[in-house]
Amino acid sequence: MSQTYDPTEFMGNADTHSGVTNAKLGVWLFLASEIMLFATLFTSYIVLRMVSTSWPWGWDALNVPLATLNTVILISSSVTIVMAYAKAYDKNKSGFQLWMAATVLLSLGFLVVKAFEYGHEFALGIGPHTSVFYAIYFTMTGLHGIHILGGIAVNGGLLYMSTQKEHWEHPLFLGRVEGAGLYWHFVDIVWIFLFPALYLL
């Protein structure tokens, strides 16, 4: 976009600007819509559970240890991305790359564990069609998984960009990292809700 005007660099006007950068505001709004998305799914979960005649206990039907492991992985990945941001903040490139790589690896780890979990259930011939409980379980965790993939793409992208001078030194780079961090925390929080709702209640 070098040869045309790029409003993402348009920092607005002192008296009519909210003070929050466009990118950050955009991310927040995006997260608002995401909240509506998952809130709807949780509402559906509650409704379906209330109308249903038989609802299994999460810990009987699902693999709690693996899910606990995943919870740990995801929470620690939230920590690592904060570290990455801190490093980017004080312009420490190698530090940033280290922590960001850690984040990406952890999220990949999450997916691997999830794959094992799914695989085990499929092996038992259990699938979304089995019952409404498994239907909502596969749908919600699946959708969450897609969000993890998205996160991996973004974080991986930032990792790659940091290797290139013009990106790393771009005035908005820090903001992009921050945006990615916000998103990643959100994905994490969703899981914090999913875990008890599906596995422990």
Partner: protein, 576 residues
């Protein structure tokens, strides 16, 4: 880089960058405009086929009848499946591919940044993306007609279990998810732009009503669409992976027991759908209301009556619209006690709407009204939308809705608000902003023909529907004459069909006028309507980056006929 010198430092763009994959909000706006116009015509075409079947059930469709494959229209006579597909697609296309992209994608995109003095949208590339997700989504939606089994047949509301067992629905759901994504991208962009990109001096209370309308609309889109996305995903699961989110136990479909596990709840879909679709209907009408406000202020040559009342009413509508959804479900089997709650909220939401119309009508008082084309449309909007809105009240009353629900009264109601309301206002907007888009104006004579033809034939289509509804004629009837109580009012169907075809004919002058004026229309000055708002403070069509130098705003949007000035309009940008 500061925003002043944006004009410089960009070289010639290639054709592709300039017209196809452009990131310029004006080009994208026009892309939206033309595309949604075409989808409107498509929706109109589908409806034209339905109208024939409704007026002359069981007779071959003239001209086109034999073009359809035999399973859709055996020897030219429309089949029930085909009728239902047309109905569902008409509704979907008109709402999600026609009016919303036109009102938000086209007018919002083009006019909003200009009116707030911004060089472009906050995220130009995202803006391009939202168009380039909208178009494929639309094409996918249309292509579902070519699928085996045809397009979705369960109404635009796609109530399960019917939508789960009917063909075509999968494509519908997929394209809906794509279209929703596009709208979300747009909504975020609009909000950030309005919040962050306003020119110096353009405080919120100096924004034109149209900008406020777009702002509220974007909030609605942002918060109301994700629930439908989730609901669609669940329905997709039901169809593709045979889950049972919406399928209760022990269904026996055409003599066969349904294979799914059961245990789901069909009402869940209705709640989720209407939680989107009610805010959605206000998405359909708020931007047009904004357009009407702009045009009225401009052509009465005086400030709007109750600018703040208008804005607060729109915000109130926005908030309330999340609390009325179940007035579509009074007799759906949900707890009747809930009915009372939604009865009250529905009556409450009609209050701000009345306030808006009242303000717009009071704005005429004391004015010096110029009767030009845009004004004609804006004025036609008031009483016609009024009819539509008023007919919403008996529907909102639980008791009367027992009888009126799912009759043509409902069809009449919402076509009055959406066609003689939104579409009329949007057409007015085309005449009003055409000079901005192309630096030329549309031909008046053709315009007036279009105006009178359109308004009268629209009334001719939809007024009969109200009478049919009172006589108890149900909607979505492939063959209305199959039910005895419809026979006396069948004549109205003929009236309505003939008017519909007239309406189609009267669009021809408009289409010709539109494209002809693009190149051969009479040239106009920079500010042909002597308007005060910012979009007229830059060349028409505006260059890339819109304003030579960032405009500075000194006053409210509608400072017309200020005493002691020689011109009767005082632009927001003139220092004095």
């Amino acid at each position: 880089m500061s925003h002043d010198d944006h004009g410089h430092g960009h070289h010639e763009l290639t054709f592709w960058e300039k017209y196809v994959f452009s990131v310029d909000h004006k080009v994208i706006g026009l892309q939206y405009l033309i595309t949604s116009f075409i989808f409107l015509l498509v929706g109109f075409g589908l409806m034209g086929l339905m109208r024939w079947q409704l007026a002359f059930p069981g007779t071959p469709i003239p001209f086109f009848g034999h073009l359809f494959p035999a399973d859709l229209a055996p020897n030219g006579v429309m089949s029930g499946e085909f009728y239902n597909a047309l109905g569902a697609m008409h509704g979907t296309i008109m709402v999600f591919l026609g009016v919303v992209p036109l009102a938000v994608g086209a007018y919002g995109n083009y006019v909003l940044p200009l009116q707030i003095g911004a060089p472009d949208m906050a995220f130009p590339r995202m803006n391009m993306m939202s168009y380039w997700t909208y178009l494929p989504g639309g094409i996918l939606m249309l292509s579902s007609f070519l699928m085996p089994g045809g397009a979705a047949q369960s109404g635009w509301t796609s109530y399960p279990p019917l939508s789960i067992i009917n063909p075509g629905q999968t494509m519908w759901l997929l394209s809906m998810v794509i279209l929703i994504t596009s709208s979300l991208l747009g909504a975020i962009n609009f909000l950030v732009t309005t919040i962050n990109m306003r020119a110096p001096g353009m405080s919120l209370w100096r924004m034109p009503v149209f900008c406020w309308a777009q702002f509220v609309t974007s909030v609605l889109l942002l918060l109301a669409f994700p629930p439908l996305e989730a609901a669609s995903v669940l329905q997709l699961m039901d169809r593709v992976f045979h889950t049972s989110f919406y399928m209760p136990k022990d269904l026996v479909i055409l003599g066969k027991a349904y294979m799914g596990s059961g245990g789901g709840q069909p009402l869940l879909w209705q709640h989720l759908f209407w939680f989107l679709a009610h805010p959605e209907v206000y998405v359909l009408v708020l931007p047009p209301m904004g357009i009407v406000a702009e045009i009225i202020a401009n052509n009465t040559r005086k400030p709007l009556h109750g600018y703040k009342t208008l804005v607060f009413s729109m915000i109130a509508i926005g908030v309330m619209s999340f609390m009325v959804w179940a007035h579509h479900m009074f007799i759906s089997g949900m707890s009747p006690a809930l009915g009372n709650f939604f009865l009250v909220t529905t009556m409450i939401i009609s209050v701000p709407s009345v306030a808006i119309l009242t303000c717009l009508i009071f704005s005429l008082k004391g004015g010096s009204i110029r009767y030009n084309l845009p004004m004609a449309y804006a004025l036609a909007f008031l009483p016609l939308f009024g009819i539509g809105g008023l007919t919403g009240l008996p529907l909102g009353l639980t008791v009367t809705d027992i009888y009126l629900h799912d009759t043509y009264y409902v069809i009449g109601h919402f076509h009055f608000v959406v066609v003689t309301g939104s579409i009329i206002a949007l057409m007015g907007g085309t005449y009003y902003w055409f000079p901005k888009w192309y630096g030329r104006k549309m031909n008046d004579t053709l315009g007036w023909i279009h105006f009178w033809g359109t308004t009268t034939s629209m009334t001719g289509i939809f007024l009969p529907m109200l009478f049919m509804g009172l006589a108890g004629a149900s909607r979505r009837l492939y063959d209305p004459t199959a039910q005895l109580h419809n026979l006396p009012v069948q004549g109205w169907n003929v009236v309505s069909t003939i008017s519909a075809y007239c309406l189609g004919v009267f669009q021809l002058p408009f289409i010709y006028n539109f494209f002809n004026s693009m190149w051969r229309g009479e040239k106009t000055p920079e500010n042909p309507w002597q308007a005060t708002t910012l979009e007229w403070a830059c060349p028409s069509p505006p260059p890339h980056g819109n304003f030579e130098k960032t405009p500075v705003v000194y006053r409210g949007p509608y400072e017309y006929s200020v005493p002691g000035r020689k011109t009767d309009f005082w632009m927001q940008t003139d220092k004095n």
